[in-house]
């Protein structure tokens, strides 16, 4: 899933999280498929950020999956002798791969 500004939302995207109003009331439930009309309504309600399924928006300067995994290896390079941190790396690696599927 990916958190994106509402301005970048397009119809056909699926909400990965509920959209809540300031007081906690659900405006729009998880799993809803966005339409042009719905996006307009959310804009009028002052919603700024939404979380959608998958990874539809390539953010500025954002890496490819391969780039993200290479960065991950580099971050852990000084820690290869720590088995617990190597386990952390494997878990994060799975998480990154899943988020790109």
């Amino acid at each position: 899933m990916q958190a994106i500004p509402l301005t970048l939302a397009t119809s056909g995207m699926t909400l990965a999280r509920d959209i809540l109003r300031e007081d906690g009331i659900i405006l729009c439930g998880k799993g809803t498929v966005l339409s042009v009309a719905l996006i307009e309504r959310l804009k009028r309600l002052g919603v700024q950020t939404i979380t959608v399924e998958g990874h539809p928006i390539a953010e500025e300067g954002e890496k490819t999956l391969e780039g993200e995994l290479a960065d991950l290896e580099e971050r852990f390079r000084p820690r290869t002798g720590d088995p617990l941190l190597m386990r952390v790396k494997e878990i994060i690696k799975d998480l990154i791969v899943t988020s790109w599927q």
Binding site: P5, G24, T49
Partner: protein, 297 residues
Amino acid sequence: MAIEWDEEKIAGFREKLRQAKALPTLPGIVSKLTQMVEDPSVSADRIGRVIAKDQILAAKLLKLVNSAFYGFPGRISTVSSAVILLGFNVVRSLVLSASIFEAMEKTVVGLWEHSLGCAAIANVIARRLSINDPEEISTAALLHDIGKVVIRENLAEEAAVLDEAILGENISLYEAEQRILKINHTQVGQRLCRHWNLPDRLAEPIAYHHEPKKSANHYVSTAIVHVADVLVRARGFGFGGDKWVPALDHNAWAALTLREEDLPGLIAEAEEVLVELRGFSFEIQTLGEKCPPAIES
């Protein structure tokens, strides 16, 4: 290219630090709130009204309170209910964080995001351990790298020298600070805490997040901030000054009574809040621009 720096200027910075001249003053509103707490007749409502006078600050405070890392079930819509729900100490430290980070979030967005992420993960860990006042640990985590801000503000050119040393010699920012400045951001943070009379509960995690064993009175909070710092950098969320994951203190990890089997769940839970924070960081950065000017009453 050999890296050069101005020894004299750096020594001057250390001297200024000793005399507390290089340290930013505590925002006026925080001093005022500190005075108010000593008066038992002051109500949460009055404290709320003082904070609410600064609308941008109040808006940022409410954003912080309602953000992913404090995780209250309902939404908190007024400052006075935040004071009642969170307690005065937490609100004071939140006001402190909101005002300090006002300057920071615009100039060093990467460090601001690193700090936010660390606060969020510290909160996840504190809740798992059912610790009282997880909000206060989040605040300590939010401020853990405040020494880096002070260094950047006082030694802008030298900060570029630090960056060069990190890349050229493959050393961490912490090591580069030790070598070039002969003082590191945790020591600067500690001086700032003393200068501001912050409680040990906040000061120890800030001072010892790289060496938790030195924390005498608040070891668990310090260990949480230490582990949260390692995990947020492991995820690559924000930018802490260099790209590497810091060494994990296994005693600190053991003190949190977490097992290796707990890692997948903990990291998945942290990921949930980090995803939410990506949007939050963007919102809070644009908040100041959209708020109407503060109204005097």
